[in-house]
């Protein structure tokens, strides 16, 4: 049977078109491709800007797949779409992609080039092709010749092309995975609208973000609570999402949820290495950037960002801590599970293996914090997080210091006369003060948060500078385990 040109195919650049109208009176060249075939992509990218014969690309794809293929390859040719069940490809007996077929004057099929063969295709098109390797490359099976697997041949690439990523590979949010993540929760229940674009954070979308991030269902109650906390107006996620500052949200987990979700609060507590820590923070971030539209370089205007913005979730090492944990300080029962969200910069590690008094160690931590946000910007009005390692915490506890005492001592140690602070970026308070007037690094000692985390050996604590001037406050939410 001689293949015909009567079929009408959807076009990417306009209304559906009959093949006969696309090729004209002939001769012309049809180039069959599909989006999962690397050789097709190679061929499309090597097509010349102009060809002596009319050239029509026929993509064996759905319309969205073909559109994504065209965005990736930007071929210099009209693209028509041979949607499932790929009737035109069958009719033209195209079993491999890419295949270029000459359509003779009058419509009959002529020579064909199967796979990528630079010289043969140049001969068919009548124009030289770029002299770049490879000169030849085998093609892939036509869609109609095999049973397709879910998601095509490369569903991970598909996720990148949809923009559903933070730059790392993600887990495709299939309906089955999202339902497993939801665990019977109402998919339509909304946690609120996510700034800046105001996408509605339905539980279904939050679950999709959790799947993308690589969470397991036991992590989802933490993700749900973190999103809920981040959308509390007191957190001002709008400002955090769009600021030029590098800051992003950190999630701090307390209570039995740490064990239930398999979080690491010990050695390497700030990561990497533990799935729960890595994915819970990432799920929140994906919700902010996908549902909320805070895409770096788009509406997320951060000049630099920081590596922790991919996702940052830590658990307090309550077992090694000599103090009441963060959630108890914030009014929750010791047995409750909570997440606290806080906006902060990248951590600054503070090594101190030599201090032998609590006063000396508090001064070291205070001096490290003095440089955060900007060295002469005193006082800061948003929250700074100190992650105190167990050995440092033990030294403070041995001196009889509770968290409140440590907070006070750090606050009192970070103080300078205004005259020393009139450099570069400084505050109106410094500018308007007398030279000898004392200025603290924080407006209030309550702007200092302390948690204990990390391994039992090694004297390294960390300080996370604030997202200053943003009017953001930490928000804590209880984790709900039931549906």
């Amino acid at each position: 049977m001689v293949p015909g040109l009567t079929a009408s195919l959807p076009a990417l650049d306009g209304p559906a078109l009959r093949l006969a109208d696309a090729v004209g009176e002939g001769p012309a060249v049809l180039l069959f491709v599909h989006a999962d075939c690397p050789t097709s992509l190679l061929a499309l990218r090597r097509l010349p800007a102009e060809t002596p014969l009319p050239l029509v690309v026929i993509a064996q794809d759905t319309l969205p797949e073909a559109a994504r293929l065209a965005r990736r390859a930007r071929p210099h040719a009209r693209v028509l779409v041979d949607v499932p069940p790929y009737a035109v490809s069958r009719e033209w007996d195209v079993t491999t992609v890419p295949t270029a077929v000459l359509v003779r004057a009058g419509g009959g099929p002529g020579r064909r080039v199967v796979g990528w063969d630079r010289e043969a295709l140049a001969g068919l098109l009548g124009v030289p092709l770029p002299d770049e390797p490879p000169a030849q490359k085998p093609g892939c099976g036509s869609r109609w010749t095999y049973q397709e697997q879910p998601g095509g041949l490369d569903e991970l690439e598909d996720m990148f092309e949809r923009g559903w990523s933070d730059g790392l590979p993600v887990v495709p949010p299939t309906r089955e995975r999202v339902e497993a993540m939801l665990g019977g929760r109402d998919p339509a229940r909304s946690l609120g609208r996510v700034p800046p674009v105001g996408g509605e954070a339905t539980l279904e979308r939050v679950a999709a973000c959790a799947v993308l991030a690589g969470c397991r269902p036991e992590h989802f109650p933490l993700v749900e609570a973190a999103v809920e906390a981040a959308l509390d107006p007191a957190f001002n996620i709008h400002g955090i999402n769009v600021t030029t500052q590098p800051a992003g949200p950190i999630v701090i987990v307390n209570g039995p949820a740490r064990e239930r979700a398999g979080l690491n609060s010990g050695m390497g507590a700030l990561g990497p290495g533990t799935r729960g820590n890595a994915t819970v923070g990432r799920a929140l971030r994906l919700c902010l950037s996908l549902t909320g539209g805070a895409v770096p370089g788009g509406l997320d205007r951060s000049t630099l960002g920081h590596p922790g913005k991919v996702g940052l979730c830590i658990a307090e090492n309550e077992e090694a801590s000599p103090w009441p944990p963060l959630h108890v300080e914030r009014g929750f029962a010791a047995g409750a599970s909570t997440v606290t969200v806080l906006a902060c910069d990248a951590p600054l590690s503070v090594s101190d293996h030599r201090s032998r008094s609590a006063e000396e160690l508090a001064l070291v931590l205070a001096r490290a914090a003095e440089a955060t946000w900007s060295p002469f910007w005193w006082p800061m009005d948003d929250d700074t997080l100190f992650v105190v390692c167990p050995e440092h915490a033990a030294l403070f506890a041995a001196a009889g210091w509770d968290k409140q005492r440590l907070r006070r001592e750090i606050f009192e140690a970070a103080v300078r006369p205004a005259g020393e602070l009139r450099r570069g970026e400084t505050t109106p308070i410094v500018r308007e003060s007398r030279d000898d007037e004392s200025i603290h690094k924080w407006t209030d000692r309550e702007r200092i948060l302390i948690v204990c985390a990390g391994g039992e050996a090694g004297r390294y604590s960390a300080v996370f500078g604030p997202c200053d001037g943003m009017g953001t406050r930490p928000v804590t939410r209880e984790v709900r385990w039931s549906t």
């Binding site: 569903e155 598909d158 949010p173 549902t291």
Partner: protein, 90 residues
């Protein structure tokens, strides 16, 4: 393959900018200060340039730079002028 999208399709549509004005003479321009440091200096200079071109100006301000303008401010801007300029500075 069916995936559950993390995107809200209702907000996927980009907002089309309003057409550019034909001219400035005789128009009133709202200069909206978002309260970022030195935004007022930028708007002062802009006001001078607009006045030279025959436009009148009205100064308004957001409550804080770090949050969206309140509904009251958003509603008031078109009542006070034909055009608006929002200042960002630092």
């Amino acid at each position: 393959m069916e995936y559950v999208s993390p995107l809200d399709p209702r907000v996927a549509q980009p907002v089309r900018p309003a057409p550019r004005p034909a001219g400035l003479a005789g128009r009133t321009v709202v200069l909206l200060d978002i309260r970022k440091a030195r935004g007022d200096e930028f708007l002062d200079r802009l006001a001078e340039l607009l006045h030279e071109r025959g436009a009148a100006t009205v100064r308004m301000a957001k409550e804080t730079f770090s949050k969206p303008a309140s509904g009251e401010v958003v509603a008031a801007v078109p009542l006070h002028g034909d055009l608006a300029v929002e200042a960002l500075a630092d």
